[in-house]
């Protein structure tokens, strides 16, 4: 026993700061945000106490009760009761409670106490409690609960010192001294505890109430939400441009500088110039836009505004047959559908969960941003609309909106198809507002940079080089007149595919680019960069792809490709996660099938209609 590290589990109500505490204790960087249901898995880490003692720490999804109603809550219940497959019950449970919200959280503390296992109560957010004038008699609380109580501030460095010290001194022999009568009414006990140990401040108008009066106002609240979304899309375009231009210029310069020593017309020069710089460089220029989008997402996540937005839009989701709980997973899908689909674990009804998983890929993920902005910048004029809006930003907004509306429509159809009469519960907690911590936001952005660079250096680089080979070999026969790529493998595949895609306005270059784009959406941009670099005579590099396609494609083609990207399931990883989370290939086939069908129909309509007007 002494050689084995003590196994400790963090449990508590949703959004009480378990994961923030976990990060502080283990030095890890799990995702935290200000809404219920961020953590949907069990996560493990190690704690090193000052004495050199080590602990094995387990972070669990938050739950209001062991009477679990959703997959994430079941994980917590099973781990605490020692029923989780392949894992014994934890040696010690650290029950985390939000000190500003003890009325709700103490109930669960008592439920945990009834397990009869060693428990420590960590009163988190003590700083906020003090600010609100809440006075807690920790001694008395500890005595009445029959368990040790420590105070923590998980968002502050050193805020868990008391907990670490307690763990350091902890002896496994300590028997649980919890004195609770299992038959008693748990709510009555909570009230009694509160009355004896906690002093609430006199009622006053809290800042949150003032903000909520505006943010949740039927008219003004919706106006604020719309303005906020608009601001984000405007910012993606106008703030990013100067940085994008300099990245484009930098890539062009680097491409020129690295290849000037190589003999003109050599295969290596072509690989570096047309393959790597034209392909990867094009994707790289979109990093600033992705970061600006994430800056907004991170700030909104931390602030506690997101559940308010869910509150405002719930009626629409209800009409479409989605549970209100679907809002957060769908919103995460704007970053990437993969965490979005994972977040559906907080949805209790399995059919609701499946519907949400199937529509999540319709939310515009950040990987689509390079494709959208490349086309918008090339084809949509930078014109002011009503003096304040930029037409490019409006088009981007429309594309995002098209994704949302179609997700609602698809959910509605699915509900009709299965003649669903079940109830869709909302039951969502609205957290207190919080000022985002700049350090956390910066760290979140840095994480995004790393993820993006890893993709560029990994899958995008691999596919781009592969595509370069397919587009360069076999070489043209002697006496050929057209560009070499026409005779290559990729050129031929593109020309075959062209028959399928001609009705929706794609030329063969786009058709070729769509194939590697299946693996990851951004690859389509790098692939276009490579294909065009090889079909042209000049050295086309990053910054030139936009003007080049603006010159060669019709507006109808560009719009059709945009429509394609709203729907097409161009992402293997998403399909793999659907498979994992639903444990069925059938659902993968349904998702991919309906998305491709929608994409083709939408592009066909867009192309044919746009052709009539242009």
């Amino acid at each position: 026993m002494s050689t084995e590290a003590l196994r400790i589990a963090l449990v508590g109500n949703p959004n009480c700061g378990k994961t923030a505490l976990f990060n502080l204790l283990t030095g890890s960087h799990q995702k935290v945000a200000n809404y219920a249901g961020v953590t949907v898995e069990r996560k493990e880490g190690r704690v090193h106490a000052p004495s050199g003692r080590q602990f094995h720490l387990l972070d669990l999804p938050g739950t209001y009760s062991f009477d679990a109603t959703s997959p994430d809550e079941m994980i917590t219940r099973d781990v605490c009761q020692g029923r989780y497959p392949g894992e014994a019950a934890p040696d010690l449970i650290v029950c985390v409670a939000d000190a500003t919200n003890l009325r709700l959280h103490l109930r669960f503390v008592l439920e945990v106490a009834r397990l009869g296992r060693p428990v420590v109560l960590a009163l988190n957010m003590m700083d906020a409690a003090r600010r609100h004038g809440i006075k807690i008699d920790v001694e008395a609380l500890s005595q009445r609960l029959g368990m040790p109580v420590v105070q923590t501030i998980a968002v502050r460095r050193g805020g868990a010192a008391a907990l670490v010290a307690h763990l350091d001194d902890y002896a496994p022999a300590e028997a649980p001294q919890v004195d609770v009568d299992p038959g008693a009414d748990i709510h009555a006990q909570v009230r009694e505890l509160l009355a004896a140990t906690v002093q609430m401040p006199a009622k006053r108008l809290r800042l949150d109430d003032v903000i909520d009066r505006w943010a949740l106002h039927p008219v003004i609240g919706l106006g604020i939400l719309a303005a906020l979304m608009f601001l984000i899309f405007q910012a993606v375009f106008s703030w990013a441009e100067p940085i994008m231009d300099s990245i484009g210029a930098g890539v062009a310069w680097a491409g020129h500088w690295t290849t000037q020593a190589l003999p003109a017309g050599s295969a290596l020069r072509s690989l570096i110039n047309d393959g790597i710089f034209a392909g990867l460089g094009t994707v790289l220029t979109f990093l600033p836009q992705i970061l600006i989008l994430f800056l907004f997402i991170l700030v909104l996540e931390e602030s506690g505004y997101l559940p308010r937005a869910a509150f405002l839009l719930d009626r629409m989701m209800f009409k479409a047959g989605l549970t209100g709980r679907a809002f957060i997973p769908l919103l995460s899908s704007f970053a990437c559908a993969i965490p979005g689909i994972m977040a559906t674990r907080s949805i209790s009804d399995p059919r609701d969960r499946l519907t949400t998983i199937l529509v999540a890929p319709l939310m515009t993920c950040s990987a689509r941003l390079p494709v959208y902005t490349l086309l918008i910048a090339a084809f949509i004029p930078r014109r002011d609309v009503w003096g304040i809006f930029n037409l490019q930003g409006i088009v981007l907004f429309v594309l995002y909106f098209a994704g949302i509306l179609s997700a609602l429509a698809v959910a509605f159809v699915m509900k009709r198809l299965r003649r669903d009469k079940s109830e869709h519960a909302l039951l969502m907690e609205l957290p207190a507002y919080r000022l985002p911590n700049p350090r956390d936001v910066l760290y979140g952005l840095w994480l995004r940079v790393k993820i993006f660079m890893k993709r560029v250096g990994g899958i995008i680089l691999t596919l781009t080089v592969l595509l370069w080979f397919l587009s360069s070999f076999p070489g043209p026969p002697a006496g050929a007149t057209g560009p070499a790529i026409d005779y290559s493998l990729a050129g031929r595949i593109g020309h075959w595919l062209h028959y399928v895609f001609a009705p929706i306005g794609f030329n063969w270059q786009i058709s070729v680019a769509l194939i590697p784009g299946m693996a990851a959406r951004e690859v389509a941009v790098s692939a276009l960069g490579t294909v065009y670099a090889l079909s042209g005579t000049d050295d086309v590099v990053a910054s030139h792809l936009g003007p080049m396609i603006a010159h060669q494609w019709s507006l109808a083609t560009a719009l059709s490709l945009l429509a394609w990207y709203v729907f097409a399931p161009q992402c293997m990883s998403t399909l793999a996660v659907i498979r994992r989370e639903t444990n069925s290939w059938r659902n993968v086939v349904i998702a991919a099938g309906y998305l491709f069908a929608l994409a083709y129909v939408a592009s066909l309509l867009t192309f044919q209609i746009a052709r009539l007007f242009t």
Partner: protein, 69 residues
């Protein structure tokens, strides 16, 4: 003031969860806001926590008016 939470049907998980969240007889609840479309959902404060409830969930909770404080 909450009078009671009724089960809409046997084994009503939503009613059970409502009780777990603190909607129990004798507790004071306050309607904070209504949703913009058709007054749905409702934002209800119980203790220090605010919950968004759709109307059909809120219907399970029968309340009695208290004198305005």
């Amino acid at each position: 003031m909450v009078q009671q939470v009724q089960d809409a049907h046997p084994e009503d998980a939503i009613a059970r969860r409502l009780r777990d969240l603190g909607f129990v007889p004798g507790e004071t609840v306050r309607l904070v806001a209504r949703g913009p479309f058709g007054g749905d959902p409702l934002l209800v404060q119980v203790g220090f926590t605010r919950f968004a409830l759709r109307r059909n969930e809120a219907q399970r909770v029968s309340v009695e008016q208290e004198a305005a404080a």
